[in-house]
């Protein structure tokens, strides 16, 4: 084998592996990426039932209902629109009414059936997605309590 042939094999196999990787990335992008939506986005766009989304906002005061077997229901609000969320499991320690929250799950007839609920880590930190959702709906006050440093 000449140097040229060997180099061709090397380049050919590199391109082959790269092509496989690109194919994997593209197919994974289609099936496993989750879009973030604010409650207003969900209200405005007609999303197909069963779509996987992440919703961020504040836990609407007075909306939290706890049931048996760690079932919990609450509404996420950005001040303009609300979206009801159903979840079964343990909510984070800092899950409180009026506090920032991000829920991920599937949309079923207007309700988010969540499999993950995230809250902020500490009193100074607010999920960035929540801040953006609130800013978009005009409910964000710079420098207000709970503003991230």
């Amino acid at each position: 084998m000449t140097r040229k042939q060997r180099r061709l094999i090397l380049i050919g196999s590199s391109l082959g592996v790269l092509a496989v990787a690109v194919a994997l990335v593209l197919s994974a992008m289609r099936s496993s990426i989750v879009f973030f939506q604010s409650p207003s986005d969900v209200a405005e766009h007609q999303l197909a039932p069963g779509t996987r989304i992440r919703v961020g906002g504040l836990v609407k005061p007075g909306s939290v209902e706890r049931g048996d077997d760690l079932r919990i229901q609450f509404a996420v609000t950005d001040g303009k629109h609300d979206i009801p969320v159903r979840y079964q499991g343990i909510v984070p320690d800092l899950f409180r009414e009026g506090q920032g929250v991000v829920a991920e799950g599937k949309l079923e007839s207007g309700t988010l059936v969540a499999d993950t609920v995230l809250a902020k880590h500490d009193e100074r930190y607010m999920p960035k997605e929540v801040v953006d959702a609130l800013k978009k709906s005009g409910r964000w006050q710079e420098g207000a309590a709970g503003a991230p440093k």
């Binding site: 084998m1 140097r3 060997r6 094999i9 090397l10 196999s13 590199s14 592996v17 790269l18 496989v20 990787a21 994997l24 990335v25 197919s27 994974a28 992008m29 099936s31 496993s32 990426i33 989750v34 879009f35 973030f36 992440r54 077997d69 760690l70 499991g89 343990i90 909510v91 320690d93 800092l94 991920e104 880590h121 500490d122 009193e123 100074r124 930190y125 999920p127 960035k128 997605e129 953006d132 991230p148 440093k149």
Partner: protein, 659 residues
């Protein structure tokens, strides 16, 4: 007084760094030995001054000097001493000071231990190292001064973020930085070689120990971080494909590729240009990691500050070094002489395969990490790229890589015999198939993928043992001869086998804990018993305890298996008043290589407490495997060949001048 001393020492280090950035380069140009030798003393002095600066900051924390802004923000007089010290790097400013401290340690290391390096190469390496150091000194002094004083000193500090008050996280950042920053040496060597326009096998021999050391620290640092996340975040996950985790995984993947390609370069004088490029890319990915974590682009536990000036400054450093390094590469790489030839089926070929898959896997991680950021800044759309994406992209590439790992060491250099290697691996194939069948039978036929993964891991493990057996002549030669050959075997050969065994162990742990782990999320009343995977846990009740700077609520659970008492588990919740924060302390119980994992949720008035209970079989293998990998690296590092270094070019005129 002490903070000012620390600040002043850092300014002096910068001054020395500027001298070291310029003088040795001029010395190398003019072949002036005195100017080149200057770099040795400045590198050692830089280390001394940065160490002094760091010691000053540590003193401020230990004495709780709240007139210093970072101490006030991140410390508390009632914190235990060890956390007072670790909170030095539990914030942006202090962690950057740690970064330059480690950078200067490595620079001083090259100056002190690089006695047999050619004078010009050493001078250039130290100069490039100093360019990096100066960029970061300026970054600290201009945007993140840890010694800034407050006009009115408060009486009490605001405490360190409670999730950082943990032994695991105390040593995770220094280990990670030793890894990240260690790769700067490979970068400096690569840039120096490009400036000189010549490179040879000896170059690879000089770079390898530094890269190996950095890789070992990074391996341990990642494992440490993963174990910390596992026991502290309370839901038993060990890897979340979080951008911050990916930021440490990418340099690891590139660094692993670099270690392997440097072997080819050292032994066969081939793959030179590629090795240089990898050395530049590995450190570039370390810088990208620093940028992602430190600039506030990402929101996580790690992003301490959102000052946009810092982000832009780090971005500028990033562009300067990555852009500069790659430009220099594009300009000078063609001047490097092409190396030896090899057939596709050969040890070199196998190592090329390793590099191809590691770098491609690294690329998919990079895409998955940066794509959401790029999409958000371009279209404003926010997406999450999580576990499923990486399982579908990184997973297959890694499986392909693992299936070839045992072949590499069994193939000969230059031209290998695939069939002969396959024949020698019969035991590994057999063991793998047996493991698949066994795993399939035990799990009761739930899935085929996981038993296949177990089989693959077992095959790689036996493959590593076969490699050692072949080299020592075990089963073929009399025992005395085997012993002699085992003792005569280079440590790096042992290191290879041990490291390959380690990665397979980690893989086995990930598959077993991920597939056959069980979980139970319930609310329990006092004296109620719950069962999971044959373990019965009785909730005895809650009690209150006080820690130095927190109060905690401890739950007591009695654990029985088949009626026999095997222990008590005490998960707790700690409430830190200063920051109004709660942390979750999971209780862990070792069961062989597996663990029972119990963490607490909310408690109602009647004492009903929500719990998360997991049984994770083989989970400890994940981190144990990483430690084994690191030991493999240590064995390889102790190889005599690397310790005494390469012969001087004068004694052996092997250096190839530029064409």
């Amino acid at each position: 007084m002490i903070p000012e001393l620390g600040h002043y020492a850092l300014v002096l280090a910068l001054a020395l760094g500027l001298v070291q950035s310029i003088a040795p380069v001029i010395g190398a140009r003019r072949n002036d030995a005195a100017l080149m030798a200057l770099a040795n003393s400045t590198a050692l002095m830089q280390f001394a001054f940065v160490a002094l600066s760091f010691a000053a900051l540590v003193t401020c924390y230990v004495t709780s000097d709240f007139s210093v802004a970072t101490v006030f923000e991140n410390s508390h007089s009632r914190m235990p001493l060890v956390y007072k010290i670790t909170s030095v790097w539990g914030n942006h400013e202090g962690s950057m000071l740690l970064w330059v401290l480690i950078l200067s340690v490595f620079g001083a290391g090259v100056a002190a231990f690089g006695r047999n390096l050619p004078a010009t190469l050493k001078a250039l390496v130290l100069a490039v190292q100093s360019w990096i150091a100066c960029a970061f000194y300026l970054f600290i002094l201009l945007t993140s001064n840890p010694f800034l004083r407050l006009p009115n000193a408060p009486f009490e500090g605001r405490d360190l973020n409670p999730i950082l008050q943990d032994p695991g996280l105390a040593i995770h950042p220094p280990l990670l930085y030793l890894g990240y920053v260690g790769f700067s040496i490979a970068f400096s060597f690569a840039v120096a070689a490009l400036i000189e326009g010549r490179i040879d096998a000896a170059w690879a021999r000089w770079v390898r120990p530094w890269t190996l050391a950095a890789w070992m620290f990074l391996t341990l640092g990642i494992a440490m971080g993963s174990y910390w996340a596992y026991y502290t975040l309370g839901w038993g996950g060990f890897w979340f494909w979080d951008p911050v985790e990916n930021a440490s995984l990418m340099p690891w993947l590139a660094g692993t590729a670099l270690l392997h390609s440097a072997v080819v370069m050292e032994k066969r004088n081939a793959l030179k240009i590629w090795t240089i490029l990898l050395a530049i890319l590995t450190f570039s990915l370390s810088l990208v990691g620093t940028f992602l974590v430190r600039s506030g682009v990402l929101t996580s536990v790690h992003s301490f500050a959102n000052d946009p000036r810092r982000g832009i400054f780090i971005l500028a450093i990033l562009v300067l070094f990555i852009g500069g390094g790659l430009t220099l590469f594009a300009w000078r790489a063609s001047a490097l002489k092409q190396g030896g030839l090899f057939a596709p089926i050969s040890r070199e070929g196998a190592l090329v395969f390793n590099n191809l898959f590691l770098t491609t896997a690294c690329l998919t991680v990079l895409v998955g990490t940066l794509y959401p950021l790029a999409l958000e800044s371009l279209t404003g759309e926010k997406i999450t790229v999580g576990g499923p994406f990486f399982n579908l992209t990184f997973g297959p590439l890694f499986i392909a890589l693992m299936s070839v790992v045992p072949f590499g060491p069994l193939l000969a250099w230059k031209r290998g015999d695939l069939l002969a290697a396959a024949q020698r691996l019969m035991a590994a194939f057999g063991g793998g198939v047996l493991a698949v069948a066994l795993a399939y039978a035990i799990e009761g036929g739930q899935s085929l993928l996981a038993p296949f993964g177990v089989g693959l891991a077992v095959y790689v493990m036996i493959g590593a043992l076969v490699d050692l057996a072949e080299r020592t002549g075990l089963f073929r030669l009399p025992l005395a001869a085997v012993r002699a050959r085992a003792l005569g075997l280079p440590r790096s050969a042992w290191g290879t086998a041990v490291a390959h065994f380690g990665i397979a162990l980690s893989m086995l742990g990930i598959i077993c804990a991920g597939t056959w782990g069980t979980e139970l999320i319930v609310a329990v009343k006092p004296s109620q018993t719950v069962s999971l995977s044959g373990y019965d846990l009785t909730f005895d009740g809650l009690m209150q305890r006080r820690g130095p700077n927190y109060s905690s609520e401890v739950a007591n659970f009695t654990v029985r298996k088949g009626g026999a008492l095997i222990g008590v588990m005490q998960p707790s919740k700690r409430n830190f008043a200063t920051r109004a924060m709660t942390t979750n302390e999971a209780a862990l119980m070792m069961r062989g290589a597996g663990q029972l994992y119990l963490s607490l949720g909310d408690t109602k008035e009647d004492g009903t407490t929500a719990i998360r209970l997991y049984y994770k079989p083989m989970v400890m293998l994940i981190w144990f495997g990483a430690v084994v990998m690191m030991l493999g690296g240590a064995l390889s590092l102790s190889d005599r060949r690397l310790r005494i270094g390469a012969p001087r070019p004068a004694a052996k005129p092997a250096l190839q001048p530029a064409e």
